[in-house]
């Protein structure tokens, strides 16, 4: 089977569209709704999925995702449940790329090989381990290779030029550009910071054909536009989505649909928004 990330980004490229990758926490707010939320993403036509495993100590995450993690763990939603849910999602859509976002201890506690094997079985395409820098990726590389799973890595605004090579040496799927200093969450973007990202994106693009998607703090069409302007190939959005889910009113799925459509519209070039200061 072909690499779904590769295929999907090629399609998008042909259509002159950018990727919209929503992040959702597996099992939040509960198993059933989590499934429905993810199904809605696919229905709304998002480009790929980024599904998170809840972890007790998510240091890269802000309050919104932390809170979702605690609740998910408290509900006894287990790693096994999470894999089962992914398998169910894969049944909805054979083609959509599925990435999972985990902390390293989750992988370790399952056994590295077992984790990647299981992931593959459930239809996962990529694994991003939030606290595993490329320097330590040899710990998981053999298992990833063996089971044909891409390792997705983070790039940060502070990543020094000499580290880009190390990252690219191990990276697959796409590059996850942390679009600002700080943890995940909803904060107003800073135009100055965004500008300085442009050169990083350029430098990276000169060295790789891997697409670059920006995440952290992307929560509305303006943020999306800002990211597209600096030249990325797609965006990842998470905290805002969880916020909508948390409010948990009847029209949650419709709200999500609307949210995705707004983002997708910008990414399809149907709307171009001015850069906010």
């Amino acid at each position: 089977m072909d690499n779904r990330y590769k295929k999907r980004f090629e399609q998008l490229n042909i259509q002159n569209r950018k990727a919209v990758i929503p992040y959702s926490m597996l099992g939040f707010p509960n198993s059933q709704q989590s499934y429905e939320i993810i199904r809605q993403m696919i229905k709304s036509g998002v480009s790929a999925l980024e599904l998170g495993f809840a972890f007790s100590d998510p240091v890269a995450d802000g309050p919104i995702i932390q809170n979702a993690s605690y609740k998910t763990i408290a509900s006894n939603f287990s790693v096994v449940n999470a894999f089962d849910l992914i398998a169910d999602v894969r049944k909805i859509d054979e083609d959509i790329p599925i990435g999972v976002l985990v902390y390293f201890n989750t992988v370790l506690s399952q056994g590295i090989d077992k984790f990647f094997k299981k992931a593959k079985e459930c239809g996962v395409d990529g694994v991003l381990i939030a606290d595993l820098p490329p320097e330590n990726s040899m710990e998981v590389q053999p298992a990833a290779l063996k089971h044909g799973i891409d390792l997705i890595f983070l790039l940060s605004p502070l990543t020094a030029t000499n580290r880009i090579k190390t990252i690219l040496a191990h990276a697959g799927g796409f590059l996850y550009l942390v679009s600002r200093l700080g943890v995940t969450g909803i904060t107003e973007r800073n135009a100055i910071d965004d500008l300085s990202l442009t050169s990083l994106v350029k430098t990276v693009q000169e060295q790789t054909t891997l697409p670059i998607c920006a995440g952290f703090g992307i929560s509305n069409p303006n943020d999306v536009q800002a990211m597209l302007n600096i030249g990325v190939d797609g965006i990842i959005t998470g905290s805002r989505l969880i916020e909508i889910v948390q409010n948990d009113n009847r029209e949650m799925l419709e709200q999500l649909d609307e949210f995705f459509n707004d983002m997708l519209a910008v990414c399809a070039g149907h709307r171009t928004l001015p850069l906010l200061k």
Binding site: F55, S56, D57, P58, V59, A60, G62, P63, Q66, Y70, I73, S78, V79, Y103, F104, N105, T106, V107, L108, S109, Q110, A130, D131, L132, P133, E135, N136, F153, L154, L155, S156, P157, L158, T159, A160, R163, I167, V178, L181, G182, V183
Partner: protein, 390 residues
């Protein structure tokens, strides 16, 4: 990086990408610092005249008599601020200054590291913010007052178990956001490389002094050297000088809480399994899914579900034995030292003392060197509360 910071398979760096550059810089600057004569001279000078080093070792005649063996106490309780934490805080604050950082942040459990950072922050003119679990704020309130008095800002951490573990999480999150101008002044020999090496470097003075002092006094090394283990900084600082003295038995004492068979303890080396938390591979208290479990100890400084990686290695190679002492035993020994020697030990240190007592019950003619890592004024209210709950 020059070094992967491994102790056997433990240690290493497991952090989000954003922190990598800071850790690279930190390693580079630390390696420079280690051999920089001027900075080292300044550091030693501060240890002497600001922090009050060397601290003595005290032959506890009454305790020795009561316990039937020779007991020596390394008096880190006399360090400025009231615990060994100051050794590391001054060192790292100086390092931060050298790196051109303008702000330090820190986690704290017992509050001793927070106090030490507030002191160092005031001394070096660094903006200082401290993360402290809400529960720890309650049980170590005096230390919160001290930090604030010295101009530090204390953030109450309300996530997770609301103790040390979560304070570290919050400090890491702050660091991720403010990494350019902020140094994360980690308070124990844990966390991502190069922190365990840095903290060990700044705490080695404990063991160096103690070994020389005990030799000067007795011409012979002690049979046992004992230290409590929270994150492991006072223990590694003490043990490091004795690692090559194979005849000296080293014992680290963890928080036994309500007992190792209960779910309420902090005995990571005794009951934990290999995992990854706070940027390092080490042992952790966790469930099958790798969710970190809450630790428990009456002493906030030992209430941590992981431990510095070198200790896991030292346990694995059999050089150090790790054991545990319950809340109850620790409190009893807290009283015992206060009343027999007029020295109030930190509840953390009381764990080491209590294990020494056990050892003395089973042995004759041994000499035991215990690291009295801090003074126990901070624990008065907690001990009283514990007494009332019995």
């Amino acid at each position: 990086m020059m070094n992967t910071g491994r102790y056997g398979q433990y240690g290493g760096i497991y952090v989000p990408e954003t922190l990598m550059p800071a850790l690279v810089q930190l390693e580079r600057e630390f390696l420079k610092f280690k051999t920089d004569e001027e900075n080292n001279f300044y550091y030693r000078e501060l240890l002497a005249n600001y922090a009050g080093r060397p601290t003595p070792i005290y032959y506890a005649a009454n305790l020795s008599k009561n316990w039937g063996n020779s007991i020596y106490l390394k008096r880190e309780d006399l360090v400025h601020g009231g615990a060994h934490k100051t050794n590391n805080a001054i060192g790292q604050a100086l390092l931060a200054k050298v790196m051109g950082k303008t702000r330090i942040i820190a986690e704290t459990g017992a509050g001793q590291h927070g106090v030490a950072c507030a002191m160092a922050g005031a001394l070096f003119g660094l903006k200082t913010e401290i993360y402290m679990g809400e529960i720890d704020i309650l049980r170590q309130n005096m230390n919160v007052q001290r930090m604030e008095l010295m101009g530090a800002k204390v953030h109450a951490v309300k996530t997770g178990s609301r103790t040390l573990k979560d304070a570290i999480n919050e400090a890491l999150r702050d660091w991720i956001k403010n990494v350019e101008h902020t140094h994360y002044l980690l308070g124990t020999a844990a966390g991502p490389h190069p922190f365990p090496s840095i903290v060990k470097f700044f705490q080695q003075v404990i063991g160096e002094e103690a070994r020389a002092q005990v030799l000067l006094k007795n011409k012979i090394l002690p049979d046992y050297v004992i230290a409590c283990v929270g994150g492991g900084s006072n223990a590694i600082g003490m043990f490091s000088a004795f690692l090559d003295d194979r005849q000296v038995k080293l014992v680290g004492v963890e928080a036994g809480g309500e007992g190792l068979d209960s779910s309420k303890h902090g005995a990571v080396l005794n009951k934990g399994t290999v995992g990854c938390l706070h940027g390092m591979k080490s042992k952790v208290l966790q469930n099958e899914d790798g969710q970190i479990q809450e630790a428990h100890s009456i002493s906030a400084g030992l209430d941590y579900p992981s431990v510095g990686p070198e200790h896991v290695y030292l346990q694995e190679i059999g050089r150090v034995e790790y054991t545990a002492i319950t809340d109850k035993e620790a409190v009893q020994t807290y009283y015992e030292l206060a009343q027999s020697e007029g020295i109030i030990p930190a509840l953390e240190s009381s764990h080491a003392l209590a294990y020494a007592k056990h050892l003395c019950e089973q042995n004759k003619n041994i000499s035991v060197l215990i690291n009295l890592s801090g003074r126990g004024d901070k624990d008065l209210a907690e001990v009283e509360k514990y007494g009332q709950s019995l």
